[in-house]
């Protein structure tokens, strides 16, 4: 069953896109990662232009993270002040990123950039997950990498513009979350990811936020970052396909329910291993795509 996408100007197989959405939702229900980093490469594999894949990816994350953010907010798990400071950074980063995308696309380099970013990101995320799950399956009780204790607190405490964050019980420099936010905002624009996989470890190890508010605040931050980036991608780059986004969201919302149920029954370590293998193979496929000489050197695409 094919469906025509008005912005991507192409046909896609409807069940396949629902399936992609379901995979992403499944992952987030199962292991708590957003899975936005899988949507963009999968869409590119089926021929969606990288620009549309990235812009629609951001819009899809808005839909899939809204419910979770609301749930965490009601439970009081969102440090709104911290979230707002992070947003200050990520909205600036997002706006900057969208302009970078525009320049790269005009020069014909956006596809290459996306490929390299994804090979790097998925390779890194996939390999670290792989190592972690192999270690866990072996049963080796490796010491968890503890956050470098007091020496990092030293230079962080000396930064200017210290601010109180009562919900997290922290007093840190405003600059730190703003700078982190800028980086995440740029990634959202360039890759169509929410950045939870960066934000969560940063909050735990660098900002030392209490675990209780980490996921909620990260969701809060990425919900509003992806919202901003999706609006900008539509406005500046005409890169958001509404049909594609809605199909992905519907698939992922139901995939999430399925993931949560299955996650409660199945052994977590094996699932993490499978997920790691999926992520690594996507990275390998992308890398293979640029290492092997293509049959057709020229590439045609519709343009505006």
């Amino acid at each position: 069953m094919e469906i025509f996408l008005p912005i991507a100007h192409m046909d896609v197989n409807l069940p396949l896109i629902v399936f992609f959405g379901a995979i992403v939702g499944f992952l987030s229900g199962l292991v708590g990662v957003g899975g936005g980093f899988l949507v963009t490469p999968l869409l590119i594999f089926v021929g969606v232009p990288p620009l549309v894949a990235v812009g629609t990816g951001a819009a899809q994350i808005v839909g899939t993270s809204a419910g979770g953010t609301y749930a965490h907010w009601r439970l009081g798990n969102v440090d709104v002040k911290m979230g707002a400071v992070l947003l200050l950074g990520s909205w600036s980063g997002g706006a900057l990123g969208v302009q970078i995308v525009k320049v790269l696309e005009a020069g014909g380099n956006f596809g290459n950039t996306v490929t390299f970013l994804y090979v790097g990101l998925l390779g890194f995320v996939g390999l670290s997950m792989l190592l972690e799950s192999v270690n866990a399956l072996r049963g080796s009780k490796q010491a968890q990498p503890r956050p470098a204790a007091d020496q990092s607190g030293g230079w962080l405490a000396r930064l200017p513009m210290q601010m109180e964050f009562p919900v997290s019980g922290l007093r840190i420099s405003l600059l730190l979350p703003v700078v982190i936010g800028i980086g995440v905002g740029i990634l959202t624009s360039l890759m169509g990811v929410g950045g939870g996989f960066i934000m969560v470890p940063v909050m735990i190890y660098l900002l030392r936020m209490p675990t209780k508010v980490v996921v909620g605040t990260s969701l809060f931050q990425l919900l509003f970052t992806t919202s901003e980036v999706a609006v900008l991608q539509a406005g500046v780059n005409h890169a958001v396909d509404p049909f594609l986004a809605v199909i992905l969201i519907l698939g992922s919302v139901f995939g999430t329910q399925w993931g949560i149920r299955l996650g409660a029954k199945l052994p977590g370590e094996q699932l993490r291993l499978i997920l790691a293998l999926v992520v690594v193979s996507v990275a390998v496929k992308m890398l293979y795509g640029i290492l092997v000489k293509p049959d057709e050197l020229y590439n045609l695409a519709l343009t505006r």
Binding site: A230, V253, L291, N299
Partner: protein, 247 residues
């Protein structure tokens, strides 16, 4: 549908057997193609009558498309997209369908003058920036468009029945430029064009699809803001609903 049309034409051909002042009559089984979300390609039947003898050429041209073309270049171990060129003025769809090989119907000069060659697609082409290897780029455009079935050259597509009646099934691809297509039918005899007739075919998005792509193109900021707000509400609604039904 097709059979009935043909029967009708056979009667028409019989009735107008001596009406030599109308040498070429053509008709389409439909005059527009509606692009909906479920559109995956279509087929148009062109049929008509010709005087006895001779052959038929049908040329289908879509409005020009603005495309970008890039060539993968070897950079170290990688094959990466090189410079991007914007190509304008080339029709998105271009078919030359005939009842016999074109080279047998007329000499090369006549074919070129009548625009009955594949090279005709490049007659209004503008490329910016100018390519280093224009010939290779043209060849690539022909190759890719041919593989996508957007450019077609078929010398057995037009069927002539009883010397007086002809029909051809025109495939309309799944992804195609919108606008008014021209279907030009030429009746050829003794190396020359004896008669010709043009019929327009409208290809347009309808209903929701049309509205969505128009709004997204003409008011991208409004579209982006409204769509993201809708997605937010959709996600929120589904999340709340599913949480409640699970609890």
């Amino acid at each position: 549908m097709m059979l009935r049309a043909l029967l009708f034409l056979l009667c028409l051909a019989g009735a107008s057997a001596r009406a030599a002042d109308v040498p070429l009559v053509t008709e389409l089984n439909k005059h527009s193609v509606d692009i909906t979300a479920r559109y995956t390609g279509d087929r148009i039947l062109l049929f008509g009558t010709i005087p006895q003898g001779g052959e038929v050429v049908v040329k289908v041209t879509s409005p020009p498309e603005k495309i970008s073309i890039d060539r993968k270049e070897s950079m170290g171990p990688f094959w990466l997209s090189g410079h991007k060129h914007v190509v304008e003025g080339v029709p998105g769809v271009y078919y030359l369908l005939s009842s016999a090989p074109l080279s047998r119907l007329a000499n090369a000069d006549t074919l070129a003058r009548q625009g009955l060659t594949l090279d005709t697609v490049f007659s209004a082409m503008r490329v910016s920036p100018a390519p280093q290897h224009p010939a290779a780029m043209r060849a690539a455009i022909l190759r890719i468009k041919d593989a996508d079935k957007h450019f077609l050259l078929r010398d057995d597509a037009v069927k002539i029945v009883g010397g007086r009646l002809f029909y051809v099934n025109i495939p309309i691809p799944a992804r195609l430029p919108l606008g008014q297509y021209t279907i030009r039918t030429l009746f050829m005899e003794n190396g020359a064009v004896v008669a010709e007739e043009s019929k327009p075919l409208n290809v347009d998005e309808v209903r929701l699809e049309h509205w969505v792509s128009q709004v997204a193109e003409e008011a991208p900021w409004t579209f982006g803001s409204v769509f993201v707000a809708l997605v937010l509400v959709l996600g929120l609604g589904l999340g709340v609903f599913l949480n409640r039904s699970r609890a």
